[in-house]
């Protein structure tokens, strides 16, 4: 498992705020996902209803999770696949290693998977002489840099273009050192060429799964690059890593979730590749793996059922909550100290690794409520962070620790970077939603406020502070 540095959240955060490279990267990324999401949502009038349905589908599934997991397994078996049930991260690592060993694997290609990060699959394979190769562009550079993702859908969120160029020059030593990267496209082209060789040489391909479907025994991956599909199509063996809460009952249920996922994540109507895998190669097929394995992982999730954190298991890992979080936007993902950053991480991480080491995370919040207002399955994230803090008090924390936690909240509340980011991002999104309307007659989560009055649409140009800064920059050049 990835080492936990969450106890040092405050130090991590302070370092992040003082890191010019990181602040530049966060500044570049800022707003890109927000604007695209707001646009995609504005284009689908039914979005709010789809969110309610999505929440209900997930609640129904969780209330009958034992039934749907068994139904799912029987369908996987019927299609010639195998399900490996794994209670712990140790079980899952062992299962993956055994499949790879039986396949005589020397290299393994990997699609992007957060559960793989959670389980520490790469380190385990390496320790046993098997070479894992990350093939998602962002994961690939992080593997070269020996870093972990800082974002759940854009792993290299914290890097600038110059970082990419420098790392490629440093590590792709077989290429001319004086080659020029004119555009981002050139970086992409080099990665494509490098990884082609790996896809073709791999013995096993490991992917995650966005959904499992009980009706058909399928695993679903959603990607833009096509690396996940190459990973699961070319090698002789495909392993899909999935946690137990990924299951939904039917294809129709999956469709509803898919209508929410891409819009909430990248602001696309649909990702480029949405792929359903069901079992191993069929007779007459000209390609595809001979073996299909699902490593089905619990690793602490079943303990969340029946608690005040059960609703967290509705999460579809879209990242909207972190994209809209002022704290994440100010400090980036690494400060959170484990695999899952942002608001969803602040709730999930204590559930999975224990509150003892992660008690600071539920305080890494300004309680602005934006995460909950954008979550496609309506997880009450701020309320859950509050639950964690209450649990902390019940556990009779030492006064010193208590002071640290309250201190952290105050520390964030005082950070102008955090608050400035929050107001600017909110204005951007509101301006986009209300474009051409002049005023809002109703606003999500502000019903009480907009009932008796209209909220004026923000003027283009941003906050006073942003305009002031822009004006000053303008004078200087």
């Amino acid at each position: 498992m990835v080492a936990i540095t969450s106890p040092a959240f405050k130090e991590n955060a302070a370092r992040a705020l003082a890191d010019p490279g990181l602040q530049k990267a966060l500044g570049t990324a800022k707003g890109a996902f927000l604007q695209r999401r707001a646009q995609a949502v504005a284009n689908l009038p039914e979005f709010e209803q789809l969110r309610n349905i999505g929440r209900d589908i997930k609640n129904h599934t969780l209330a009958n999770l034992d039934f749907y997991l068994e139904a799912y397994e029987s369908k996987v078996k019927a299609a010639g696949g195998q399900v490996h049930w794994c209670s712990t991260a140790d079980d899952a690592r062992a299962a993956v290693l055994e499949i790879c060993r039986k396949a005589g694997a020397r290299t393994v290609t990997k699609g992007k998977s957060m559960i793989s990060e959670e389980l520490g699959i790469n380190a385990h394979l390496e320790a046993h002489g098997i070479r894992p190769v990350e093939t998602d562009l962002g994961e690939y550079i992080l593997q070269l840099r020996q870093e972990h993702p800082s974002h759940i859908i854009a792993p290299a969120f914290h890097l600038n273009r110059e970082d990419w160029e420098a790392d490629f020059r440093r590590l792709h030593t077989d290429l001319p050192p004086d080659r020029v990267f004119h555009e981002r496209r050139d970086i992409l082209a080099e990665a494509r060429t490098k990884l082609r060789e790996k896809f073709l040489a791999a013995d096993v391909g490991i992917t995650g799964a966005n959904f499992l479907i009980a009706e058909t025994g399928s695993s679903v991956i959603v990607t833009n690059e096509g690396n996940g599909d190459l990973t699961q199509t070319l090698p002789r063996v495909h392993i899909a890593l999935a946690s137990i809460e990924k299951v939904v009952p039917t294809l129709e249920d999956a469709c509803n979730m898919l209508r929410l996922l891409a819009r909430s994540a990248t602001g696309q109507d649909f990702s480029v590749y949405t792929t359903f895998s069901t079992g191993a190669r069929r007779e007459g097929d000209l390609d595809g793996p001979d073996e299909y394995h699902v490593v089905l992982v619990d690793n602490g999730r079943s303990n969340m059922i029946g608690t005040e954190f059960q609703e967290m298991l509705r999460c579809i890992r879209c990242a909207a909550c972190m994209n809209h979080c002022p704290v994440y936007g100010a400090v980036g993902g690494h400060a959170y100290g484990w695999v899952y950053p942002g608001p969803m991480g602040s709730v999930l991480t204590p559930s999975l690794v224990g509150i003892e080491k992660t008690g600071l995370l539920p305080n890494a919040s300004t309680f602005c409520g934006r995460c909950e207002s954008v979550c496609p399955v309506k997880i009450p994230l701020p309320g859950m962070m509050r639950h964690w803090r209450e649990r902390e008090f019940e556990r009779h924390l030492t006064p010193a620790a208590q002071r640290t936690n309250i201190g952290l909240w105050a520390w964030f509340a005082r950070r102008p970077t955090v608050y400035r980011w929050a107001t600017r991002a909110a204005i951007g999104a509101l301006g986009l939603l209300g474009r051409g309307k002049g005023a809002f007659h109703s606003l999500p989560l502000a019903g009480g406020w907009t009932k008796g009055r209209d909220l004026p649409v923000p003027e283009p140009g941003g906050t006073f502070m942003a305009r002031y800064a822009k004006a000053r920059r303008g004078q200087r050049v």
Partner: protein, 254 residues
């Protein structure tokens, strides 16, 4: 063992044992009847508009579309597309029975092999099983006549799609698959793999800026065969296709 431990922990959390038989039957019924949820209104259109929406959405997602009257027009359309893009006239062809009648000899310069794709292939010609107008998505189930590698390895993927197979929403395509497909191995209807493809591959991993041409095809071109009289634009059999700006809205107010 892990299985029992996991199911046991779930049931403890839910404060119950295994579900009673009647409740299991109810859930099995839900799986068997797979009820539809809300289907967005955007694709609930007359046939010609539905097909036009599909075309606009493919273009919005950086794909290209050419409409041709019948399968016999495919060789000319393909040859011209490849020439215009400066691509070789060699390609890997999906060994699909639906392609048997295509008069390839009309364009003797086109050369092809019927097989799975290889890393060295520059162009693939794939068979489209269905198109989904809602998002301009191609549905490509795997099988002997539609190898998955054709969607992945070539830099340029050309898909021949019959207009009669375009539906509004994903759910309609699933219902057609349930009705038409029989998988011998599982006894169900799912083939090994189904790819839903919406535009050419891309990545936003470098500074969250979209770049086309990641690991999959850099270009996606659809040759749309107008085999559905009801789906033709009214009044004119072969009008120029409506143009959507790549990355821009697919429909006014969209």
């Amino acid at each position: 063992m892990s299985k029992d431990a996991i199911l046991g922990a779930i049931r403890r959390g839910l404060k119950r044992g295994p579900l009673p038989a009647d409740q299991q039957a109810m859930l099995a019924g839900r799986l068997a009847s797979h009820p539809r949820h809300l289907i967005p209104a955007r694709s609930r259109l007359p046939r010609p508009d539905q097909v036009a929406l599909f075309v606009r959405n493919v273009e919005k997602e950086f794909g290209t579309v050419e409409r041709v009257p019948d399968l016999a027009a495919v060789p000319a359309a393909l040859a011209e597309y490849l020439a215009a893009q400066n691509l070789p006239s060699r390609f890997v062809l999906a060994p699909n029975p639906d392609f048997e009648g295509i008069p390839w000899t009309d364009r003797p310069l086109l050369t092809f092999e019927r097989r799975r794709a290889q890393a060295s292939d520059q162009v693939s010609l794939q068979h489209g099983w269905a198109g989904i107008a809602e998002t301009g998505t191609l549905m490509l189930p795997s099988g002997p006549g539609r190898p998955t590698t054709l969607n992945l390895l070539a830099e340029t993927e050309v898909v021949v799609l019959r207009a009669s197979t375009i539906v509004g929403a994903y759910e309609e395509a699933w219902d057609r698959l349930r009705a038409e497909s029989h998988d011998v191995r599982s006894g169900g209807f799912m083939p090994r793999n189904i790819m839903f493809v919406t535009g050419p591959s891309r990545s936003a991993d470098i500074e969250q800026t979209l770049e086309l041409g990641a690991h999959g095809p850099r270009r996606l071109h659809v040759i749309l065969v107008d085999d559905d009289a009801a789906a033709l634009p009214p009044g004119d059999a072969t009008p120029p296709p409506p143009v959507a700006v790549p990355g821009g809205p697919a429909a006014p107010g969209d």
